[in-house]
Symmetry: C2
Subunit: 231 residues, 2 copies
């Protein structure tokens, strides 16, 4: 957590968020009104937060990771625009899964990368597949969000096939599950063996580029210094 997020939570009179995320910040719940929302209820959650803010209350809409990366910042601004919300609305950035998972894995994001969510709940699968193809072909390090859900296990298989068509089977792959939580697990494997390891709704998968190597259970993508300098 950043100092700025801490200050925003302290300033807030009301916290609104997905229940399990609020349980991660017990120290901030005392003395504040707390509205616990359910999964899939994002529209209601934003509507409530905006209504309370329009009533003059200071509301923190709590997001895991970075609210600005595949998270609540967009929906709340879309709805503020629809409803001509008087504002102000401040987006407080945080550490996204890609920041935290990259740190746990060593240094996979030293070169150009793409972030792609495999969830087709709000995006047609054809669009997702086109992006996987483009990322694989252009040698982007690729961060895969939402690789699997309870009802959806084939997308990560398809993603792996797309990358295997463009990259060596030995390409390093990292799987970080429940990053920064007590139950965090970290696996460094490769494209060939990617599907042999547990992947859950809470996993983020990082696929190296053609230069990425592994060392001591870490993934390192060279920035390119070794081309110019003797290390």
């Amino acid at each position: 957590m950043t100092f700025a997020a801490d200050a925003a939570l302290r300033r807030a009179e009301v916290l609104v968020g997905y229940g399990p995320y609020l349980e991660l910040i017990p120290d901030y719940l005392d003395g504040r009104e707390v509205v616990r929302s359910e999964m899939m209820k994002e529209v209601e959650r934003c509507r409530l937060a905006l209504a309370m803010a329009a009533d003059g209350r200071t509301v923190a809409l709590v997001s895991g990771g970075d609210p600005g990366i595949y998270a609540m910042a967009g929906l709340v601004l879309e709805m503020a625009r629809e409803g001509n919300h008087p504002g102000p609305i401040e987006i407080v950035p945080g550490l996204a899964a890609l920041n935290s998972c990259a740190a746990r894995l060593g240094a996979p994001l030293m070169h150009d990368f793409a972030a792609i969510s495999l969830s087709d709940l709000l995006t047609p699968w054809e669009v997702i597949e086109r992006r996987l193809q483009a990322a694989a072909m252009a040698d982007f390090v690729t961060v895969i969000y939402n690789p699997k859900s309870k009802r959806r296990s084939e997308h990560i298989v398809r993603a792996r096939d797309i990358f295997l068509a463009a990259r060596a089977p030995e390409t390093p792959v990292g799987i970080v599950t429940a990053a920064t939580r007590a139950e965090e697990t970290i696996v460094v494997t490769d494209l060939h063996r990617l599907l042999d390891h547990p992947i859950t709704m809470q996993s983020t998968v990082l696929i190296g580029n053609s230069q990425t190597f592994s060392w001591n259970e870490l993934m390192i993508t060279p920035r390119g210094y070794q081309r110019k300098y003797r290390l």
Copy 2:
């Protein structure tokens, strides 16, 4: 800054970093050995930090943004491997330019995105151009790092041309310069007018996808809720 970065700086006996970054954290300099390094001296900086750590001292190698995104984490691990460094080495993630700039611009990173550096100091321009083409064609929101330097002003022109061939001239574009610093500037414009605004070495440029819109000087990329739900 995160609480974890604060704790790491407090634990350190020695701080090593690029001079201007160290000046951003004056409160941590007192009572610690401070080694100010110059720009372009990354290899020497890492070598020194690793040598001091191998001597048993607790060293913080200070990076701006997130050390794990186009920054020092990779080089220090590459050199640790070359030199069989005894470790341990911990990578402490931070807010990268993409996190901070996205927050300043509203919510541009709500959907799949690519990060591409236009610096050809360590990467052949052909590789960069291929990635720009792929990102433009597959409709990635695109974060452009190092859009310009003193000796390099044509790359951003070429990048804009590539995106204009695939996306509407009205596509929203954000330019954030010196993010989070006192002299920070934020511009929301579009692809057509991108080159009419100042872009410097300290700028990050965010190009929206085909769905991104602007509102109140903000950029918003819809996550897709409006397809399924009435906002």
